[in-house]
Amino acid sequence: MNELQQMLKRQAQWQKDRACLTWAEKIRMVEAVQKSIRQLRARVAPKGPEDDRRHEH
């Protein structure tokens, strides 16, 4: 197994290990990223008909 494969394997294991955290800990992790997701969604979502028309020109 080359170095890259080992790194990917370690990364997958690291992510899987998070399943063992308590439910409350995992929920807190999700709450921590919610704000960023909302901001990102607000940035990419069209703001309304006027905004759409502006993009057409």
């Binding site: 409350a24 995992k26 929920i27 999700v30 709450e31 990223v33 909302r38």
Partner: protein, 169 residues
């Protein structure tokens, strides 16, 4: 989430709901790696006297506590929360047989992994199929349990299709 746990306890005590259980991604997170989600989904049973307006009293109860409607949901703390009446035999059973989990000292009822998988199977979007795979990978449910539950709720064909497509059988 603590605000939601507290609200659900109060709703039950006040008789606004008879029973409830969290499902969807928030429930999934109990069994798997955390997944990004913005919403909380709650199955509810309301007293039979409520008739067609099953959710009216829930909205009113939330508003009295400062939790406002936001689209199809009610924003409770950080969580836009959808209250969904347990309308089908599958969702009713999932709610009735839910487990009680501890959330920072408060009790929260959460749908079991097998019910979660079969509800996902019944909905059938890509993210629902991903949920089933994630639950299987975490060993919180096995194929036999899903097959059995799916058969009881008329979803054997959907389960066969899922197995063929995603489990290479």
């Amino acid at each position: 989430m603590k605000e939601l746990a507290q609200l659900l306890i109060e709703m039950r005590v006040a008789g606004v709901i008879q029973d409830y259980a969290l499902f969807g991604a928030v429930a999934q997170i109990r069994y798997t790696e955390p997944v990004a989600t913005l919403d909380a989904d709650v199955l509810v049973a309301v007293p039979s006297s409520k008739g067609l307006d099953q959710l009216g009293e829930i909205y009113e109860f939330c508003a009295q506590r400062g939790w406002r409607a936001e689209g199809e949901a009610i924003r409770v703390g950080a969580w836009p929360t959808q209250f969904i009446p347990a309308f089908s035999p599958l969702t009713r059973e999932a709610m009735e047989q839910a487990e009680t989990a501890d959330f920072e000292g408060l009790s929260l009822r959460v749908v079991r992994a097998d019910h979660l998988a079969v509800i996902a199977l019944s909905v059938g979007r890509a993210k629902d199929f991903a949920r089933i795979l994630s639950l299987l990978e975490s060993s919180s449910v096995d194929r036999e349990a899903i097959a059995k539950l799916a058969a009881r709720h008329g979803l054997s064909e959907a389960w066969q299709k899922f197995r063929k497509k995603f489990l290479d059988e």
